[in-house]
Symmetry: C7
Subunit: 249 residues, 7 copies
């Protein structure tokens, strides 16, 4: 009980350290990320794959309005997990950064450059008073100089580069699956399969095209592309992952 | 009791996360929405229907002053539930956005564009200190490129797209009714009927024209139209929903 | 006792929601309104009537300095109840709005337009930090396009339109009286009588011209007019409402 | 005890309402007024009289430095009670208002106009955060269009007009005396006598010229005039109010 | 104990009233004044005398660095008691006021004018948030139109005019001595003697030239003049007040 | 227990002193530094060596994204330990300082000059309210006028110059090792060996090229140079420090 | 215990008075000064001497980076004790003041003028909210008009002039030694000896050149001069104060 009341003392002060050097508000923002459904990113030899769990709470809700995959620029996609309204703010920030870069330097923004602009923005909300941290994690994937790149931003404002990762609910289990099954010589289509199988590994009821979002950015055309329900269904069938969707809707 | 005192600690800090990653002020603002009478939105093949419960506390109050349906632009209507004064702020914000869009691009604002401008505005009040969240939910319905669109904004600043939804009191029961009875091949008139029946499903005393507000936005003329008492009464009679209004007034 | 200490937690934060979605400071401001003596507004076929209880605490105080009825524009009057100094701020705001409207559009401001400008102003004080809500309710009555209109503003910033209403002390009892006795085919003089009888219904000692303020805005000349003591006395006598004023002064 | 701890909760928040709709800081500021010695204002047929108790804590203090009567303009005087340093701020504010009015409109400021400018200024300190209310009450007396006018400003920012009033210590007893003895056909000299007798009614030791301040504003020349010790002594003798002043100094 | 915890509630809010209308921070600032050694001011027929106790805590400290008497202008001196660093701020403020006055009006600033500029400045720190009151009292003495004038400023921002006064430690005892021995027909040299005797009346060990500061402003040349150790010693000898200074250093 | 609750009182106030003159938030920020993996700096006769422990939490994370060594200018490198996002802010600040210096004075910035610009920036966050201290320590190493220089910045904003130092986890043990084994006549290659051996002294599993970052700034070309995995492996083999890396990945 | 909890109430409010008129944050800042190693200043007939204890925590730390003696201008040196990062801020402030003075008046700044500019700057941090006081004391020594001057600034912002003083750890004991042994006819070299002996009086292990900093400002050339290790060693030997330095390093 003592520990608990002590902890409260640090929660309330938004931007201060606890005696053991932690920032509780940032850690709680990470909990907000865990409350969101999972998003996965996979880097392959010839592109990046973004896959998200987009289950909806009601059959009357339009699935397209559950926006967890976003196009940041022609060659960069972003998947999010956590507080949806916060994600929109960061996506808007990222898009403006990409546009400004194109206008100013007449070339597309680098994936790492964009990621660090976003994390520096996030960090400010963890140090300066008057606002709370962002309760969202982003997976930023794209092509830079013909190379696929895959990054994560977390609520502390730290950028990480990954071969494959998950954010949101079940992160630990999905990353275990990825660590066991990831190979760095995958092609994009194989990456899509790995992502779906990773999602299925934590799903009890199997997957449905409607409950999933998928996007790829390929080296060939450097283009961000969202997959249609039909394409997703084809992939699910190919990997024998199709659940009993009829029952659910 | 311990849980309670712990919860208080997070209530008072307006814009901070709780240890489990929740924003209590946003959740309390959702309670303010539930305190308001119900509003319903239904998307049909050829338009959207907005229906609201506008019971008044006194027979001397002018029913027209209970403003729960608003015209945002010629082709977009908004129904609200929750804190009335907050709703007015958001409606004014939405109208200004619509006007600016028309002036700047010489074309009417899209329904989704307007919705997201409103939710981004709402989100700011949940992250930056010095103000409380908005205690109101909006249903934004209209026509874009000949297609009916129906959106919800909630106090967290998240936009959702729906086929049919309810906000405010009895949301759960009304949505159950809608899920059972909604078909996506409805026409506007059928949508009006469904909305009235959904409202009646949670009303003990039957409905009266005076206690209801109704508006439609149709694809044909893309026009927002509020229904008169006579029109509402006709609909109520057609569906055998007319209550004993004489007794109440 | 627990409920009490919990309630305190929300009182102190000026602009935050309680767990059940209420804004305590706004509700307390409504209590400030109830602490003020009653004001009544009545809409008749050909005008509006404003009547106020202006009892004074000392016979040496000038009754005219108890300002509860104000002229906002030639065609609009305002009656207030609650915190007097706050009322003056809102009256000044309303007058400036009316002047600006006349200058800008070269026509008198509408009653509804004026009311909503005032309520939007009030709402800001309930959402943005650094100030308390206004502890006052206004009855705004006037003529627009030849039609009498009667509105209320409350501390939350919500506008209501009424046929007849009361604010301040004894609101409930006076409104009961009005509901029983109001007819929408009253003429202004009958409205004055109804207002005085409603005031008398909650007065133990009968009424005196000195303890009452009366104003009318009539359709004919669209003019705001304060009644003199003699005129009030005539009305009181006509309705047999004259109390033992000699004793009091 | 419970009531006490509850009360504390509202004291600390400068500008918020208590559950019963009161503003404690304003009420405490009224207590600061009561801590000051009494000031009296009397309106007569041909002028206004200001009289103040200006007892001093030490015989070595210059009585003239106990400034409780101030000249605001040629035709307006102000008496104060309460926190002296706060009074000086309001007096300075009033003088600037009077000067600006003269410059702008080329005529002396009205007594009521000046009073309301002061009360509106006071009200701001009760609603907007970052400062405390003024702990002072003013009696503003002067001539407007040949008529004597007498006003009070209190810490809430409410203006009152009076025939005769007292502020500060013993207000209740002095006002009882005034109610019994005031007549509205008094002349200025009689008003001076009434004021002195009212002061004497709450004084145990009788009055001395040194312990009193007196000023008049007369209709004839519309001039503010402070009375000398000799003139005060003459008045005291005329009313048999002269105390044993030798003993005190 | 209850009173104590209640008192704490008001201490922490810098600029708010207690239920009995007091400003605790101002009263605590007065305690800061009492923690300083005494300063005395005496007005004589032909000038003012400022005398201060400037005991130092170490024989290695330069006595001249204990600045308790300051020249504000050629014709005005200021003695202080209380928080030394705060005193310096007010002295600087006073000097700037004096300079500005001379530049603007081409004549030396009046003693009363200067005092009130200082007290108005002090008052702001007691009403507006974000800073604490000044923990210092000033004695301002000088010549205006050939007349000696002597004022006090206290932490509330109230100006007082005196014939003779003390601030700081032992104020009560010194003022008792002054009340018994002051005559308003003193000449400056006699005033010096009275000041020294008053200081000696509360000193256990007798006085030394090093432990005392003395300054005069005389009508003749209207000049501020600090006395040298030799001059102080002459005065001490003349009044048989010389202590055993050798022992102390 | 008492000490604990007392300590809490000072934690929450960001920038205030405790009764014993400590700044707890700064001390807690030092704890944040200790939570980071170790970084080492060594000054040799002909250059400086920076070595960091860059273990990663997942085999799928790109090691290059664990940025603990940064190039601040051609001739200056910086190693960090602690809160990663905070480090990025300071590195950006340092780079801008270096650029501005070059532009303004047309010569590279001095190592000490750069360090003090950074520490002055850090200090502001410990004294002025509204933000928390930086939870990071930097080792700044470079060449100035042909001489190697090595500095540390800590969360209080104090600059230190070192011959050899460690920051982050195991600082004490590593510094013990350095104190025993450092000689000031080392050459850069020997410095690299010492740094690796110091890191190994606190590692249980031996070192792997992937778990280490290494950079040097040499006097000869004054150039900052990051070592490749192959170069690191060569050094590890030369000192027999190579762990069983296969097992870990 | 009661006293303790009461004390906490005042600690947390940065700039407010306690009931007995004290500023706890300023007193705690003085504790921060005591946590620093000692610094000594001595004024002699022909110059000033600054001596500091600059023990370092590690043999690998560069002693020159322990900056406790600073050159403020050609003719003024400053020694500090307490919070190092705060000292740097004040030193920078002092240097800018000196430069501005030289530019503006074309003559070197006076020692007293500089000291008071610094103390006025310090005072602001004790009265205005939003920042904490400076946790450092300075000894400012220099030559003005051919005369040596020696000042102290403390965390309250009070300036003191001294013949000889100590700040930081062991202040009391060192000042006792200085009071017994100081003579005002010392020459600079004798002052150096006195300073070293005073330092030695509180040192258990004897002194080493590396553990001491020494600077002088002499009347002859008015020049600030830091002594080299060799010069310090010569002085130590001359006074037989040399400790067993070999053992320590």
């Amino acid at each position: 009980m003592q520990g608990q009341s002590q902890q409260q003392a640090y929660d309330r002060g938004i931007t201060i350290f606890s005696p053991d050097g932690r920032l509780y508000q940032v850690e709680y923002a990470r909990e907000a990320v865990k409350r969101g459904t999972a998003s996965i990113g996979i880097r392959t030899e010839d592109g990046v794959v973004l896959a998200v769990d987009k289950r909806i709470r009601s059959p009357l809700m339009e699935r397209t309005s559950v926006e967890k995959i976003h196009k940041a620029d022609d060659h960069i996609g972003i998947a999010s997990a956590g507080h949806v309204a916060d994600a929109r703010q960061l996506i808007d920030f990222a898009r403006r950064q990409a546009q400004v870069n194109t206008l100013r330097y007449d070339e597309p923004i680098g994936v790492e450059t964009l990621t660090k602009a976003v994390t520096d923005h996030i960090q400010q909300y963890t140090q300066v008073g008057g606002a709370r941290p962002f309760g969202v994690a982003l997976i930023i994937g794209g092509i830079k100089d013909g190379e696929p790149r895959l990054y994560e931003t977390d609520p502390s404002g730290t950028p990480y580069e990954w071969q494959a990762l998950a954010v949101g609910a079940d992160r630990g289990d999905i990353e275990d699956y990825l660590e066991e099954n990831y190979r760095d010589d995958l092609e994009v289509d194989e990456g899509v399969g790995l992502a779906l199988k990773a999602l299925a590994s934590v799903s009890e009821d199997g997957l449905t095209p409607e409950g999933i979002g998928l996007a790829t950015v390929s080296v060939g055309d450097e283009g961000f592309k969202q997959l249609s329900d039909e394409e997703i269904e084809t992939h699910l069938e190919a990997h024998d992952l199709l659940g009993d969707e009829e029952d659910e809707e």
